[in-house]
């Protein structure tokens, strides 16, 4: 692996490298253990490969949120919106492609009594078209909303609440069948992706590996970006936006750029997620889903990319394991984790440096600053 530049401000150098190397190892291991070696003692069942793939998309989503919250100091409680957008767009592609090339009629056409899909489904059978939209639509939505909010200086908790309200609005809209995206049912029953049947043997490990690759690339790219002058500017915005403005920087554009980038990354995560779970519905737009993303980042440590990735992996792996196993306990564990992090580990697991293990006994630790109201 090429030399990874590190910067203590962006991340702990060693940790950053460890995470990158682990991801690389997984990229090699998953296709091997899930494919040729699946019968061996260490072999991955399709179920586990699928879970790894899903978790990779969650980690990517956490990375996206960390860009804007950890570095820009702007908490979004609406990243589920972008994630779902990516998911819906890829789902539209898969349904339309199945309909046009495979002759599989989507359920929604049956129960809505439609003889054809609405006009805005036009062109979705083409993957390149869908892919461009996956980048474009969330980017545009992020731009419009960010431009409006940042210009009128909506920030801090207001921004958080309004992003949540916006996501909630989107959820209400998508739950309506008349909106034309499958309503409560959402979209399911996908038949093909990129010409390969979704039930094909290599599909599960292939998607999981692809998700891991995208995650690693995004991780390295975000690391580089945050170490660049742009990252420094973003950190300056987080630490004291007013100071920066009074030094002559118009902070609207850097914030907007980071916000749009974050939104697009989240959408890519969503587009990787949906083919792996095989269904999308407006549930992804529920407020608690977006809050959970923030919990991943808070647990791992805001302002540290490896923290976000680790936080997402730990919590979602725990969740996968426990929801099937002791479902009653999961909410208690999640709530407990949040309360412990918030009260005892203000910077998340990054506070768990060996020398800080006694930290809870000390009173005067300084949490990462939050932007001034």
């Amino acid at each position: 692996m090429a030399k990874i530049q590190s910067d203590a401000r962006v991340d702990r150098p060693l940790l950053f490298r460890i995470v990158a190397i682990c991801l690389l190892a997984l990229i090699v291991a998953v296709p091997l253990l899930g494919g040729p070696l699946s019968g061996s003692a260490l072999g991955l069942t399709p179920y586990l490969a699928n879970i790894i793939g899903q978790i990779a998309t969650f980690a990517l989503l956490a990375l996206a949120l960390d860009l804007i919250w950890g570095f820009g100091g702007i908490l979004s409680l609406g990243h589920g919106l972008f994630f779902a957008m990516g998911g819906y767009l890829i789902a539209m592609h898969m349904l339309k492609a199945g309909y046009v090339y495979g002759g599989v009629t989507p359920d929604i056409m049956t129960f809505m009594g439609w003889t054809e899909l609405p006009a805005y489904w036009f062109g979705f059978e083409s993957f390149p078209y869908a892919f461009v939209l996956i980048l474009l639509v969330p980017g545009l939505v992020a731009f419009l909303y960010g431009w409006m909010s940042f210009r009128s200086r909506v920030s801090g908790v207001y921004f958080a609440i309004i992003t949540q309200a916006l996501t909630y609005v989107a959820m209400l809209l998508m739950y309506r069948n008349d909106t034309g995206f499958g309503g409560n049912n959402g979209m399911t029953g996908f038949s093909t992706l990129l010409g390969v049947p979704v039930g094909a043997p290599g599909m599960v490990t292939g998607l999981a590996t692809a998700s891991l690759v995208v995650l690693l690339l995004a991780f390295l790219a975000c690391g580089a970006l945050m170490r660049s002058p742009f990252g420094r500017l973003l950190i300056a915005i987080r630490d004291d936006e007013a100071r920066l403005r009074f030094l002559g920087y118009d902070t609207l554009w850097p914030k907007l750029a980071a916000w749009c980038l974050s939104g697009v990354l989240a959408a890519i995560a969503g587009a990787l997620y949906v083919p792996q779970v095989g269904i999308i519905n407006p549930r992804l737009l529920a407020p608690e889903v977006s809050i959970e993303i923030a919990v991943w980042v808070a647990l791992g440590g805001r302002g540290a990319l490896s923290g976000a990735v680790i936080g997402a992996i730990i919590i979602s792996a725990l969740k996968f394991w426990l929801t099937g196993f002791v479902p009653e306990a999961w909410p208690f564990i999640l709530a407990g984790v949040v309360l412990v992090v918030v009260t005892l580990l203000p910077n998340g697991l990054l506070d768990l440096k060996p020398q800080r293990l006694l930290a809870p006994l000390r009173r005067n630790r300084k949490p990462a600053p939050e932007p001034a109201e």
Partner: protein
């Protein structure tokens, strides 16, 4: 007790996290219990469906206990693995995958709403597994991987609507369709419109409205229903397809606005005894529902089932009422027994063999009917009841079918 199971859960969770990988623990467990066969349950015990759906987990367990008391199936004890999809449709798919791929269950019993069934469907089809689905539903689906334990509209909704339109049922002429906005109500209403059109009823005799799942404020809609009812054109009825907690909310507002079943009867297609647990039903007497089982079904078989349930609830501290039994409970119960019969007949737990052996099986259902599985698909032939809500939150039987009509998966009225 629920609390105890929670504490147990916490202990298991902390113990489990000591063991590095959960699947190792699971495999060890499975190896130690190789004389068991697993059945999976996909019913929510949290979220908007929890109130009614959660009890099906316990019925499946009860039925499994009955099987085990008689020595199990093919010499193996039946173990029921339950999950909690939390009324979150995509989670049904996720947990379904876990049950089938990870737990290796022989069959899965699950889903209430059609959304959740549609969500699991690709999973069971891709893994060639069996899903026993205990709800009456909209039809238009015929997967070899789903056993449709309950009735499609042709043998549930249509008889009830015909009854309402008959002289005895009140000669209904105008229809207000109010449903939760998802596949089941939408499809049912499509079929009803096709059916009425085929009877020569004009389109201005009906109105169709949808609310989001979980909607609670029916004030405005009930105003609209009243306005609709007061217009000329004959006896109005409401065909109600809202689900979950919206059902009691709807009826509460209905009473408060002073509309009685005499003025505008409501046919609550998803309304069950359990939906009225929190309500005073004296002002609701006379509203209707239709199911393949009602708690007041006559016959010794029903009394047997009811007392078995009451005993099970009391013995195991089940957090549901011992004196309320609803159709999906009975359907789930039937399903477990039908699966056991099929496995015994096939001499194997393999899905293709069980499926093949299922055709033509019969079972004495608590409803009093001898239900049977069709040979040409995986539907179950059942009887139909039309119930009338009484003062004590139950349904009196107004009408019941003379026999078990043939289920018709694809409605001729669908795109009429």
């Amino acid at each position: 007790m629920k609390r105890r199971s929670f504490v147990k859960g916490l202990i298991t969770a902390s113990a489990g996290s000591v063991i590095a990988s959960p699947w190792v623990a699971r495999k060890a467990f499975a190896a130690a219990h190789s004389d068991t066969v697993k059945l999976g349950c996909l019913f929510s015990s949290s979220g908007t469906m929890a109130n009614i759906e959660g009890r099906l987990n316990y019925v499946a367990r009860m039925a499994a206990e009955e099987l085990n008391a008689k020595g199990g199936v093919l010499g193996k004890m039946v173990e029921v693995v339950t999950t909690d999809p939390g009324s979150d449709w995509p989670l049904y798919a996720q947990l379904g995958r876990q049950l089938i791929q990870q737990e290796g269950v022989a069959a899965t019993f699950g889903c209430w709403t059609s959304v959740s069934r549609k969500s699991v469907l690709p999973v069971v089809e891709q893994n060639d597994a069996l899903l026993y689905y205990p709800l009456h539903f909209e039809g238009e689906e015929n997967s070899k991987n789903v056993v449709y334990l309950n009735s499609p509209p042709s043998s549930s909704v249509l008889p009830a609507v015909e009854y309402l339109m008959s002289e005895e049922g009140g000669s209904a002429k105008r229809f207000f369709m109010l449903g939760s906005d998802y596949v089941w109500p939408r499809t049912i209403n499509q079929q009803l419109k096709g059916y009425w059109a085929s009877k020569g009823i004009e389109a201005d005799a009906w109105r169709e409205e949808y609310v989001p799942v979980g909607h609670s404020n029916f004030q405005t809609l009930i105003n609209e229903i009243r306005a609709f009812a007061d217009q000329p054109g004959g006896q109005p009825v409401v065909i109600l397809t809202v689900v979950g907690n919206s059902i009691p909310d709807f009826f509460r507002e209905y009473v408060n606005q002073g509309i009685s079943a005499f003025d505008v009867p409501v046919l609550g297609l998803d309304a069950l005894e359990a939906d009225f647990e929190g309500l005073d039903t004296t002002a609701l007497v006379g509203h209707l529902n239709c199911w393949a089982y009602l708690q007041n079904a006559p016959g010794a078989r029903n009394q047997e089932f009811l007392s078995a349930w009451a005993n099970y609830v009391n013995a195991n501290g089940v957090p549901y009422r011992p004196d309320v039994a609803i159709d999906p409970m009975v359907s789930t119960y039937d399903g477990v027994h039908l699966w056991a019969l099929a496995a015994e007949k096939a001499g194997s737990f393999d899905v293709p063999a069980v499926r093949e052996a299922s055709a033509g099986l019969t079972f004495a259902c608590p409803s009093g009917y001898e239900i049977s599985m069709t040979a040409e698909n995986t539907y179950v032939k059942r009887g139909v009841f039309i119930g009338s809500l009484n003062e004590s939150q139950g349904f009196d039987i107004l009408w019941q079918s003379p026999d078990t009509p043939d289920p018709v998966p694809f409605s001729p009225y669908m795109n009429a």
